[in-house]
Amino acid sequence: MIHSERTIKFNRTALAQASVALIILLALLSNGQLLVRAIEPHVRALGGPVDASSALDAVSRHEKRFEELRAVLSTHGVVGYVTDQQDGTGFTSQRGFDEYVMTQYILAPVIVINSREPQFVVGNFSETISGEPRPALQGFRLVRDFGDGVMLYARE
């Protein structure tokens, strides 16, 4: 009986010891794995070509594209939004919606609505069509092409 109790006590202690060791080992591994994931883009950037814009995250890149437009918009009000990543029913891709949200985040406190109703409409297009008003924007005149697919239209 005494032997059995000792065995159980020993086993429980050993189990506790093993689990503490496992906690520490797995914590170090889990932590290390996340650390590698976090610093990997920075290490890659260090070894890659020096290009200021490619080193930026998606939001900062988007912010840079809209920098000039933001400067000409008033400090509040509502503008519309048009992109080549939507059709009559809505955004055609998750990226299309992500870019709309980023545009709202960047242009705040101006409210950006996904519509062509307002007097002014912000255009966010792929670079290739920059400078050419889309056919679907009939009834609007191009106020300014800011380059990189960013445009501002006004209702005629």
């Binding site: 202690t13 506790a16 689990s19 496992l22 914590a27 939001v59 509040h76 985040y105």
Partner: protein, 475 residues
């Protein structure tokens, strides 16, 4: 350089206010690193929460200006004067934190402090690296929290545009602790630098770790605190979402802070009033952080009333429960004002239809699906390489459990609160008007972060310490 100094100054003020407020309410007790860490961690959340609420009130009553800083300085001076007065009055209620392990540094503590220090340093570097990669935060940060802060700061006189119905997709009814804290600091610094939301995210995440480690160090043993800290810091979702600048980490902080205060309140033989009130303040700030915080405040009050009534009778329960509610009231009033006059209806509540909800409530398939997803989430808590709860379960089997009699009501209240909170989340999923799989996919992993630090706190309050379990032989 000037902006950097202003950022530092704007961040220091809430931390000082929070620390002094905690010192005012905290009973006297043993001083030391753990004690200071505990009070500082509580002060971080209390200070950021208080100044966020104050800034929102200032915006509503006065408008966008830096004048609110005069109120903050007045609060700081008032707290300092109050603290000096309190010290002169003689010793306040004394906190009994006689841990089950002698205070001398144990072998277990020395051995566990090394991996804890390593993992803390690694988690800190990871956090900073993520912040640098994504200075604007991830989806929720830029679609909700930081965007709202931009409206509050950049909008000037038109700051109420933040709640324009045109932007209903950004959850306009979400409370404003995080956006308010960010916009306040931006206003003071005069710049909407991404360093401010990043700093606030960092403060909340590491204050949560500090609070967990320090409270367990004082209540159980320092080695127990280190062990809990190791588990939390190695939780990938905790670090990742913290650095993503999501409000779920501050929410988790306030849940833990309120429960820690409740447990400590049982350690004050001559009266728990101030700590119960502090727990109420923390619960109120949880409600000012996220809508789920309102549910938390409600279930905390209910759990506390029930547990204290069972232990000491309804008379004492109602008296202490009143103190808890008194702590919640200031933020509750702020929140009610916000919800009534600024925020539109909640998307979940406004889309609920009685007949459809009743159909969902009696649909066993929905229950089965939500139970499966909850079980999977519980298994995967913390997103470790292997299931952290399973490993903790093995530790509990090996080490065994032990709860000091004095801690039983506090631990019972904390456990009941967490259980009721999870039940509430469960029921929301069952009746959700959204597509169920999508709703769970996009939110359950974040909601888990509300309870994970507190679950670790309760677990390590229940488990024997490494010293008690004989994990490491004492020399």
């Amino acid at each position: 350089m000037k902006v950097g100094i202003l950022i530092a100054a704007s961040s220091l003020l809430p931390l000082l206010i929070g620390l002094l407020a905690v010192l005012m309410l905290w009973p006297t007790g043993p001083s030391g690193r753990a004690d200071l860490a505990l009070k500082s961690a509580l002060g971080v959340g209390l200070g950021l929460g208080f100044t966020s609420g104050l800034y929102f009130l200032w915006l509503v009553v006065v408008g966008p200006s830096r004048g609110f800083v005069a109120l903050e300085i007045a609060a700081l001076v008032g707290l300092l004067a109050g603290l000096i007065y309190r010290r002169r009055q003689g010793p306040a209620a004394k906190l009994d934190v006689a841990t089950s392990v002698p205070n001398a540094r144990s072998v277990a503590e020395r051995l566990l402090s090394v991996p804890f220090a390593l993992i803390s340093a690694s988690a800190f570097v990871t956090f900073i690296a993520f912040l640098v990669s994504r200075p604007h935060g991830r989806w929720d940060a830029r679609a909700i929290w930081n965007m709202r802060a931009r409206f509050l700061f950049r909008g000037d006189e038109a700051w109420m545009d933040a709640f324009s119905g045109f932007m209903s997709w950004t959850h306009l009814d979400y409370p404003l602790l995080v956006p308010g804290a960010i916009a306040r600091s931006w206003r003071l610094a005069g710049s909407d630098t991404t360093a401010i939301p990043a700093l606030i995210a960092l403060l909340f995440a590491f204050a949560t770790v500090g609070l967990l480690v320090a409270s367990l160090a004082l209540l159980r043993s320092r080695s127990q605190g280190f062990l809990a800290g190791i588990v939390l810091l190695a939780s990938q979702t905790f670090i990742w979402h913290g650095a993503s600048q999501y409000a779920d980490i501050p929410m988790g902080f306030f849940v833990l802070a309120a429960l820690v205060c409740i447990v400590f309140s049982e350690r004050v033989p001559s009266g728990a009033a101030r700590l119960v009130f502090l727990a109420g303040l923390m619960a109120g700030l949880a409600a000012w952080t996220k809508n789920e915080g309102t549910l938390f405040a409600l279930v905390l009050v209910a759990s506390y009333l029930i547990v204290v009534a069972r232990a000491s009778g309804w008379k004492i329960s109602l008296r202490r429960g009143g103190l808890l509610v008194a702590g919640i009231v200031p933020t509750a009033l702020l929140l009610i004002g916000f919800k009534m006059w600024l925020a539109p209806g909640n998307d979940l509540l406004s889309s609920l239809e009685l007949s459809s909800s009743m159909d969902k409530l009696i649909d066993p398939l929905r229950y089965g699906y939500v139970i499966r997803r909850f079980a999977a989430q519980l298994f995967d808590m913390g997103d470790w390489l292997l299931s952290a709860p399973v490993i903790l379960g093995i530790y509990m089997v090996g080490a065994g459990g032990k709860v000091e009699a004095v801690d039983r009501p506090g631990i019972a209240a904390a456990s009941l609160t967490l259980s009721l909170l999870l039940m509430g989340y469960f029921l929301v999923y069952v009746v959700t008007p959204h597509e169920l799989t999508w709703h769970i996919d996009t939110s359950l992993y974040r909601l888990a972060l509300h309870v994970w630090p507190s679950m670790l706190f309760v677990f390590f309050m229940l488990a024997r310490t490494p010293e008690e379990a004989g994990v490491i032989k004492q020399s």
